[in-house]
């Protein structure tokens, strides 16, 4: 079984490589976004030294790291599921001897690894040459960051699986999936560090899984979270993985029953 998933990851990785225009436009998209926010923050800071507890320099680094992290955890698995449901392909998937959701997770991982290797790593090296980025000092720091990034990937993919499974019940929900994407970008701290929000909003966001997707991993990278507090963040991420597992399982069970009733 493990071999199957390894193969799925590899195939998705190769598929990503095969679409070269897609690759180039992906680089441009990330360049566009990072550039937009880089200049925007430059203008927002103006002459001010520090905003929301971050200096202008820290903010630039934050923007770079946050987008690079996103390159790994981001995927469109929910839209793929939706398409397979609409085209009726999902019925065929369900009679195959594997777990459909795990297959999707594996494909997402293949995609994430591709972007990590071909976008994020070169991107970070480039950013490191231009910006004063403080890379994690020890192997241990790197390890902790990568671990939290992997968990961020799992949480984000879980959310995608959730919205994807909803297609079984709503038939068409592109709108919701698009809305989810921008909401995740905002609430995960990608376009605005969580510390910028008013206190009441920060409290509210503490109850949601989004900030562990980007804000915390990025802060671990930049060393803004002390090694002694890192364990807490990792545990929080782990807790969210466990919590999200529940609705996915329940919905998935109902979705399959629904499909049987409707006859595909």
């Amino acid at each position: 079984m493990a071999k199957l998933y390894a193969e799925l990851i590899r195939i998705r990785f190769l598929t990503m490589l095969a679409y070269r225009v897609n690759y180039y436009s992906g680089i441009i998209i990330y360049g566009i976004n990072i550039g937009a926010y880089y200049f925007l923050w430059g203008a927002i800071y103006g002459d001010q030294q520090s905003l929301g507890g971050m200096t202008a320099e820290q903010m630039t680094v934050y923007v770079a790291i946050a987008w690079m992290s996103r390159a790994f955890y981001f995927n469109n698995i929910d839209q793929e599921i939706a398409q397979e449901v609409r085209e009726g392909k999902v019925a065929i998937e369900l009679i195959r001897p594997y777990n459909y959701l795990s297959v999707k997770l594996a494909q997402a991982l293949g995609e994430g690894m591709f972007r990590m290797l071909f976008f994020a790593v070169p991107g970070m090296i480039l950013a490191g040459l231009i910006l004063p980025i403080h890379f994690p000092p020890t192997l241990g720091h790197w390890g902790v960051y990568l671990l939290s990034l992997i968990m961020a990937f799992i949480i984000n993919t879980q959310i995608n699986l959730l919205t994807g499974i909803l297609t079984f019940f709503l038939f068409r929900n592109e709108g919701m999936m698009r809305a989810k994407r921008v909401v995740v970008d905002l609430l995960s701290g990608l376009i605005l560090p969580i510390s910028f929000f008013p206190v009441w909003a920060q409290t509210l966001m503490g109850f949601l899984p989004f900030q562990v997707i980007n804000y915390y991993p990025s802060k671990i990278f930049s060393g803004a979270i002390a090694m002694s507090d890192v364990a807490g963040v990792l545990w929080l991420q782990f807790a969210w993985i466990a919590i999200l597992y529940l609705p996915i399982t329940l919905l998935w069970r109902r979705a399959r029953r629904n499909l049987v009733v409707q006859g595909g």
Partner: protein
């Protein structure tokens, strides 16, 4: 009506390197191979003809059809259809043709066929009384009236295909292209579609071009057949000539009332080019090469000379012929 001369289409195909390292190299530097999908094809078609274009997968059929429908521009050569050059005057030209791609729907998935028909009437500007009457006739002849108010996604394949054909004819085109129209349909639906097409061809003198894998389609409908292989036209003529050329010939099995030695029969049929096989003392099989002229001669001379209790004429089927073409050809390809 259709004039195709020295038609050529060359593709550049990306050659993927194998393995991860290969895929990585492909990202920055691609290798291409040129392929002649259609290579010097010429033929002419008169108005009102019903003809088939056959060939194996990759023989160049679809590419030829795509060039004839104006979707693709030829690399070289000329096409004139209905007085238009398809790829140059595409928007005017396509008003005079109808196209059914068996694998691809032209109906709106979520809406009923009636809605699609109405929209297509607008697209082709045939909204008047004439257009309406013509559509009514199509609906009646294709027998689709019972379900054209249901969403397309709820129709069966056979129902949908009949609606596709109606949709492609909405503007009463002079020329109809059918690309694999009967794939996956059951016998009854095939029958209905064939009957409709035959009728359309006869009453409206609509020229119809059919590509198909289904040999029975051709036997039921087409007089003329064009065979393509590896981009080249390897046969163009009547179905009967095709049988003549590629068939196993015609066999006549005689059952005589008395014993007939084969040598005696050979003497009788002396000047005719045929082979004789003795089944037993009373039965002889005669294998003819050029069956059309030979068949009546052989039959009449044998019947006139001997008392015959039974005669069977066995023609080789188109299916055999197609198989023959392909097998002979692949041998050529291997040797060449």
């Amino acid at each position: 009506m259709i004039k195709v001369s020295q038609l050529q289409k060359v593709f550049r195909i990306h050659q993927a390197r194998s393995g991860l390292a290969g895929a990585f190299r492909d990202l920055f530097n691609r290798q291409y191979k040129t392929v002649k999908a259609v290579d010097g094809v010429s033929f002419q078609v008169e108005e009102g003809e019903f003809f088939a274009l056959i060939g194996e997968n990759g023989a160049g059929k679809s590419t030829t059809i795509k060039m004839m429908t104006g979707i693709l521009t030829p690399t070289d050569g000329e096409i004139t259809i209905n007085g238009f050059v398809p790829y140059k005057q595409r928007e005017d030209y396509v008003k005079s043709i109808g196209v059914v791609f068996g694998q691809r729907s032209q109906l709106w998935w979520d809406l009923s066929p009636t809605e699609s028909f109405r929209l297509l009437q607008r697209v082709y500007k045939v909204e008047g009384e004439d257009g309406k009457r013509w559509l009514d006739r199509l609906v009646e002849e294709l027998d689709i009236g019972g379900f054209i108010h249901q969403p397309v996604r709820k129709l069966s394949l056979g129902q949908r295909m009949r609606c596709e054909i109606a949709a492609s004819l909405i503007h009463k085109p002079k020329l109809l292209f059918l690309d694999e129209p009967t794939v996956g349909l059951d016998v009854l639906v095939k029958q209905k579609i064939r009957e409709f097409l035959r009728n359309l061809n006869e009453s409206e003198r609509t020229t119809i071009l059919l590509t198909t894998h289904d040999v029975s389609d051709i036997e039921a409908l087409c007089k003329r057949v064009i065979v393509m292989d590896q981009g080249k036209l390897i046969f163009d003529g009547m179905l009967s000539d095709l049988k003549e050329k590629w068939g196993n010939g015609t066999e006549i099995a005689f059952q005589f009332k008395q014993r007939i030695p084969v040598a005696e029969l050979r003497g009788l049929l002396g000047e005719y080019p045929c082979e004789l096989f003795a089944e037993n003392e009373y039965a002889v099989r005669v294998k003819l090469q050029r069956s059309r002229e030979m068949l009546p001669l052989v039959l009449s001379s044998v019947m006139a000379s001997y008392e015959v209790s039974d005669v069977k004429v066995m023609e080789s089927s188109t299916e055999d012929i197609v198989r023959n073409i392909y097998s002979v050809d692949s041998e050529v390809a291997v040797n060449g």
